[in-house]
């Protein structure tokens, strides 16, 4: 009797989970379905699960449409996401290592100064940051889109926590061998810290690819649009070409889904190690 109850409970839970999973997948399915449908099919009141014909031509039309520089915006996003990821990893890991391992009288004070910026909501600094970037003459430049985002206190914090727990014996051996801080870092520490680089890198990459407010504010010329800004311009335009819009959105999440599925494990470990609890 009890056994049957337990089994029934288990089956019920599984059924609910499957239903929820389908619900969570619906938006992805709609993206794909509409992206491969004709405009008439998308807006047809006779709604079908599969479109009558898969319209791969949408992809050609999207890239041939000169009113929205979609190819350019994809390239911009790729450049920005890669540069931001590499730059953040370099700067934040060096800082995190210095804070964790190089003895210095004011190290704690510097660390609190860095940590303090996490308490300042980005919402509050976006107006003044715009002012700063515009006075540097960096509006509508890739520099303006990349450089201000390179200094992530969150990434620095994760690296510091990770290096604090790093086995000291490895570095001691290196010091005995006469390596200074610089070479110890590059030859011993970095190769042994690949998991945390992968975790932070993935999170930074996703954030850079998906970020919207900053690129919207800084990328005023079409030549500096990112994918998100281009997509947004589609949805707020006078005339909306729905099939192009959906195929553009589907194309825009493809690289992310690949990165995400490959590195998902690292994000999970990164989240667990970020010390937020």
């Amino acid at each position: 009797m009890d056994d049957a109850l337990v089994r029934a409970g288990r089956a019920l839970r599984l059924a609910v989970l499957i239903a929820l999973a389908l619900l969570f997948l619906i938006p992805f399915y709609l993206l794909l379905r509409n992206g491969l449908s004709s405009e008439r099919e998308i807006t047809s009141p006779e709604w079908t699960f599969f479109p009558h014909e898969l319209r791969w031509d949408n992809v050609h039309e999207l890239f041939a449409d000169t009113s929205v520089p979609f190819a350019r915006s994809l390239l911009n996003s790729a450049l920005i996401a890669v540069a931001t990821t590499l730059g953040t990893l370099l700067l934040a890991s060096l800082a995190g290592y210095g804070l964790a391992r190089i003895p210095y009288r004011y190290a704690d004070k510097v660390f609190y100064g860095i940590l303090g910026t996490l308490l300042i909501p980005a919402a509050v600094t976006f107006v003044p940051s715009f002012v700063l970037v515009s006075s540097l003459g960096w509006i509508s430049t890739l520099r303006g889109l990349i450089v201000p985002t390179l200094f992530s206190a969150f990434a620095c914090f994760v690296f510091r926590q990770y290096f604090l727990g790093f086995p000291k014996e490895l570095e001691d051996a290196a010091q005995v061998d006469g390596l200074g801080y610089w070479r110890t870092y590059w030859l011993i520490v970095v190769p042994n810290a690949r998991p945390v680089f992968a975790a932070v890198g993935t999170i930074v990459f996703l954030g850079a690819w998906n970020s919207f407010l900053w690129p919207l504010v800084i990328g005023q010329d079409q030549s500096a649009w990112t994918v998100q800004v281009a997509l947004s311009s589609f949805t707020t335009a006078q005339v909306i070409r729905l099939h192009e819009l959906f195929v553009a959105a589907a194309v825009s999440i493809l690289p992310l889904l690949v990165v995400f599925l490959v590195f998902q494990r690292w994000i999970v470990t990164g989240v667990e190690r970020s010390g937020i609890d």
């Binding site: 839970r13 989970l17 999973a21 969570f24 997948l25 619906i26 938006p27 992805f28 993206l31 998308i42 009141p45 934040a92 800082a95 210095g98 210095y104 009288r105 510097v110 100064g113 910026t117 308490l119 909501p121 919402a123 509050v124 600094t125 976006f126 107006v127 003044p128 715009f130 002012v131 700063l132 515009s134 450089v147 200094f151 620095c156 200074g180 801080y181 610089w182 870092y185 690819w209 998906n210 919207f212 407010l213 504010v217 998100q228 997509l231 589609f234 949805t235 909306i240 729905l242 959906f246 959105a249 999440i253 992310l256 889904l257 990165v259 995400f260 998902q264 994000i267 999970v268 609890d277």
Partner: protein, 300 residues
Amino acid sequence: MKHRSALWFWVFVGPFAAGLALFTYVPLLWSVGLSFFDAQNTVTPTHFVGLDNYTAMLRDDAFRDSLKTFLVFTAFIVPTTYVVSLTLALMVNRVRWARAFFRSVFFLPAACSYVVAALVWKMSIFSGVRFGLANTVLGWFGTDSVAWLATPDPPWYWLVLITVRLWLQAGFYMILFLAGLQRIDPALYEAAAVDGARPGWTVLRHITLPQLRATSVAVVLLLVVNAFQAFDEFYNLLSDARGYPPYARPPLVYLYYTALGQGQNLGLGSAGAVILALVIAVVTVAQARWLKLGRTDADG
């Protein structure tokens, strides 16, 4: 030797610290400065106006409405996401079959941008016309179509705003809860079973939830901080070529239009940002107090 390690410290930390100072502290001070000047269409103002920008902002009904929007939005989204992500974590944690699959499916939306999600919500699920998924489903039950985003009374647009954020972020917080659940000592559950506690609500209330307290505090803090930053989905769901409807404009959207829109009033925008910062500080401190109080109550 001491001297040399100080030098190396700055070699490692210096570039990062300098950049952070330049792109966070400098703009912050600049903004506070600008907020005391009349700075329309310029970043080097000369006309000092004292607190005028602040009083103008506080008297502005639209700005006050935007603060109200944000408070109501936070009051909705924080508990909803908390319950949904905790429920998902509890279910995924206990399921034996295809656990990794379920975890991935619920986490997958975290890879999606607000822009893309808003697009699917606005143009496909909650589209006001016949071909929207929500209205198609309503049609099966013989109910009339609803103009989801254009109906402020009853606030149907609210359902669209809440569900899009819920879909995007629930999986991420589920991961945090899953990590927390992994750390609970199984011996606690065994002891409870010996004491005759039936699995279910009692165990959840007396063991699981108290053990998850640290995670819960972090989750609630992150949820509130993220709700402050709400911009992407409001902007992409509600604005179109004709402009932006007056309802449902959170502070960030409002500041965007004030400081960088047609008026380019950077002084006023900066004053708004400073006010927003103060409101956020008050809410955060109040909430930290409240969460800490909860902890001593439970322990005592």
